[in-house]
């Protein structure tokens, strides 16, 4: 099951529709990392609302996506983790260290906008 990736302004939105196997996850990762450069995206949102299980491979891939896209110049937010999934992940020690998370798509977009704003401000201040 391929994950559709939509472009919305300077952001890419990957909306996961159903359970993914390892190959799908790798495909999603490669696809996103490639498109971030091609579309000059500043942010990536991965929406996992539809997932009701998250195994170690999936959470590692999500973490990798976040770190890889950051190196390519885009911030990644994981949105829509279900309460039960969140608790199961934490119990398994899958904490998504260093990855931004938000409640839902709206919150994710908000977060990215704030982040861009803060970055712009910092850049302005650095210029004498």
């Amino acid at each position: 099951m391929e994950v559709p990736i939509l472009k919305q302004g300077p952001y890419l939105i990957a909306s996961v529709q159903s359970a993914l196997n390892d190959a799908d996850l790798r495909f999603l990762r490669d696809n996103l990392v490639e498109r971030v450069g091609k579309m000059r995206a500043r942010g990536v949102i991965v929406d996992v609302t539809a997932l009701d299980v998250m195994d170690s491979y999936a959470s590692r891939t999500l973490r990798d996506i976040a770190h890889m896209t950051r190196l390519r110049g885009a911030e990644t937010v994981i949105v829509g983790i279900q309460p039960e999934v969140a608790f199961a992940m934490v119990q398994l020690g899958l904490m998504l260290e260093g990855v931004a998370t938000a409640l839902d798509l709206e919150e994710g977009l908000e977060f990215l906008k704030r982040k861009a704003h803060a970055a712009a401000k910092e850049a302005r201040e650095r210029v004498p």
Binding site: I81, V90, L96, T101
Partner: protein, 314 residues
Amino acid sequence: MRKAAVAPVKQDAKGALPPLKPEANSVLGAHTAALLRELVAHLRENRTQLRQEWARRMAEARLLTAMSTEETFAEATSVYDNYVEALETGTFEALQAYARNLSERIIPRGVEIHEVVGIVLLLRDVLARSLFSRYQNDFALLNRILDAYEPAANRVAITVAVGFVQERERTIREQQEAIRELSTPVLQVRDRLLILPIIGVIDPQRARQLTEQLLRGIRANRAKVVVIDITGVAAMDSNVANHLVQTVEASRLLGATVIVTGLSPEIAQTLVNIGVDLTKMTTVGDLQGGIEQAERLLGYKVAVAVSAQDQQED
């Protein structure tokens, strides 16, 4: 199955008893049925006298002291009638329903299981005595009557006792459920700000339920910041502490920041001594500080209104 009517009553694993009705076409069954009919006729005939005898012995044994004499007598009458009916028909559904209904009424008044079993056994004894005196001249007949009477009477006692216990267990379960739900309120203080005051002992089960309720609350209220106040928690072991850390992490995965407030000196010492990793937790001294911190995170600014300031200056 042929001897079901005279065999000692056995209860199967699920508590459901097989029907006791004697088989009409078997000689023994028909015989037992006739004896039971005779027995029931005898009990109906002497209803008033036997019931009084029973009530007297109940008072003597100081059973059901929580109820007044009139109430006891009224209940005794319906128990007696239900008892005789169960003996007559060999079916216990009506008695079961009555026992449940009775339990529902008397449990809140503090009636204990030994009282309930006690009065049913007393009734069994009273009726058996009356059978003894009636058939004292024909020992063989008395034996056969008792063969018919005893299993049925035992079944009645079991039915009533089981009904009482089931009813009480149901009450306890309901109360436990209510306490559990009351014990973990998730409250919204401001838009997108929740507080979760925890009071009392946290056992693993409660901790788990707390987490579930908090995570659901975060979803439902679209919370950004959560203040968990543990001022009312006296002690914490490493399991619960780790669970707390997990709760904080899980909340972060939902995009919410957690602030823990009100750690007592004892808990702070325990946490440090057992080496729980607290680097991922934001802690603030008290609830007020926690809420102020949360408001800062959410961009709220609380100011004293001008009129109030004027009043203070006056």
